[in-house]
Symmetry: C2
């Protein structure tokens, strides 16, 4: 093994050790331009033997090419985002681009800092969750000069491109399904997170459509922090203790919905007869529950794939126009916690 050294090796070291110019070494290491097979092999061997690792900082400065895509998301703890990320990774697989992730904790100021930080590395594109950003963030994105794709949501004005679902519509669809199934005393359980705009929009669409049938949310319960599954249990217990006549519970995400489901099954409550349940996201976890929770797929992987495709296309051909808007259609899966539509 080569000795541990203080100063990292430079192109010059490889150049001297192999007896060709730095330029030729550079060509070999990037597979760029014509180099004779002999030199190519010799240089590669020398670089390998020395343990040379190219300095991308210098390379990026000289070529003004940085093959990184900034991906800015609110959290990694919510399985939703790793899934989007995996879609992005897959979408960038066949390109030279690589995702770099930044986390905002749902805080606009932190988002601003993270964006500034990432943009200062001059990435080839930006993928950012949501359409709500501070003025400064929007300005930075607009001025960045690189493709920007806002993801997960389409209810709003994107800076540039946008890939997602309409959460308002998702809320409406779920409300329709619930009303059609004949439920009428509806409880809502969600997070206390005013900055989760997508959950808010779903709630708005949901209540709006209920309103059209003359139904109002009968009671509601909120949580923050802790194990979502355990919170789902607790909230459900609390809510039903207070409003025992509810016949449907709409959860703002599948994890708390799953907690509620487990609790209600233990109580021996008839689901979906006496009580209907629905969550949101279509998480894989649901497959293992005693009963499949009604939910709506948020198209997370697909969103990642499409966003990556937009960045990749515009990277390959910078003359392509921006402003593309892709609205995906989530599908409602009634699972086994939403009874069939009532005839009539």
């Amino acid at each position: 093994m080569p000795p541990r050294s203080k100063r990292p090796l430079t192109l010059r070291d490889v150049s001297e050790a192999s007896g060709v110019s730095e330029m030729t070494v550079s060509r070999v290491l990037r597979n760029k331009g014509d180099v004779s097979e002999t030199t190519r092999l010799r240089v590669k061997e020398v670089a390998r033997r020395l343990g040379y690792v190219p300095n991308k900082i210098a390379g990026a400065l000289a070529s003004s090419r940085v093959n990184l895509v900034a991906v800015v998301i609110p959290s990694l703890g919510n399985m939703v985002f790793p899934e989007v990320l995996s879609g992005i990774s897959e979408g960038l697989e066949e390109t030279v681009l690589q995702p770099v992730v930044g986390v905002t904790d749902y805080l606009p100021e932190k988002e601003e800092r993270v964006l500034f930080e990432m943009l200062s590395w001059r990435p080839s594109g930006v993928i950012v969750a949501g359409l709500e950003h501070s003025e400064a963030s929007r300005a930075m994105l607009a001025r960045s000069g690189v493709p920007v794709v806002e993801i997960m949501d389409v209810d709003g004005e994107p800076v540039d491109s946008c890939v997602g679902i309409s959460h308002r519509r998702a809320g409406r669809q779920m409300a329709e399904a619930i009303v059609t199934a004949g439920y009428g005393r509806i409880g809502f359980l969600g997070t206390t997170m005013p900055l989760d705009h997508r959950a808010r929009k779903r709630f708005e669409g949901f209540t709006q459509t209920l309103g059209k049938s003359g139904i109002e949310i009968a009671d509601r319960e909120f949580y923050s922090g802790g194990s979502a599954l355990a919170k789902g249990r607790e909230m459900t217990q609390t809510l039903l203790g207070r409003s025992p006549d509810l016949d449907f519970l709409y959860y703002s995400n599948d994890m708390i919905g799953a907690g509620g489901l487990l609790y209600l099954l233990e109580q021996g409550i008839d689901i979906p007869g006496r009580m209907g349940l629905a969550g949101f996201n279509g998480v894989e976890l649901l497959d293992g529950l005693p009963r499949r929770l009604a939910t709506m797929d948020a198209c997370r992987r697909e969103i990642g794939l499409r966003a990556a495709a937009i960045i990749a296309a515009r990277h390959a051909d910078p003359t392509l126009p921006g402003g593309e808007i892709v609205e995906l259609s989530p599908t409602l899966d009634p699972g086994q916690t939403l009874r069939p539509a009532r005839p009539g």
Copy 2:
């Protein structure tokens, strides 16, 4: 809002617009060196108005300082790693350092590529999961000239520093607890992942200790891919169909353990009397289950914190020696699926 432009602004643009030298602008924006309050304010205002975003590439090249810490992990889908990440983020919070994440999908060749890629950005430190790497990876890390912390595991020879738990010991401890509780027909359920070295080590420690009591694993079942919860169910059903006389099931992770637990409860099997269960990891999810699964905490957050602290300390004082080894002690939580020790 400033107009969208093709060429990003440079220090020179700010310099010209504010009438002071580039050097002074640079000083203002980095809060370095003495600058009069008047100039400072003027420059800041101009930079803000123009929407200047410094070019970190150029800055890093000139100063040979890159305040990034490369974090290399096998996956984001397994909640374990996001938790480690959050520990790392927290540990770097008060420093100038920022984590940058790379994912290997448990593939040594991909780990090698990711490491090469990240090292070519000359990070201030590297945190990498596990102690098993390709020769080339080890060589790169050793030669990198920056602090390297291998995390999650201490059973092996670290390149430099190391923070984790002994998975062999964890497996042994669980075996002891099971034997002590009087179980004797033991089944094992895990993944088909030969490259998950930590799971392998736990299994080795487990069987070794069982062996000392003259017990062998009576049957085993493996899975790959899919919803871990659902797989836990299926595997449990399959295993018990084949070996109905088992009285204990040891799962290689909590998610499949939870699936098994839900299945067995549905079957009305007496837990932990007729059948004991245990998983591994201490995931938050378990709090919401009908019964708490026996498990062992892998100290994920703490590992992230400690690893970050090592990098931060050596970044602040490069003369500090490396080679620090931190072994954390996971605690066994018997939950409600491991019966009390049998007297005698």
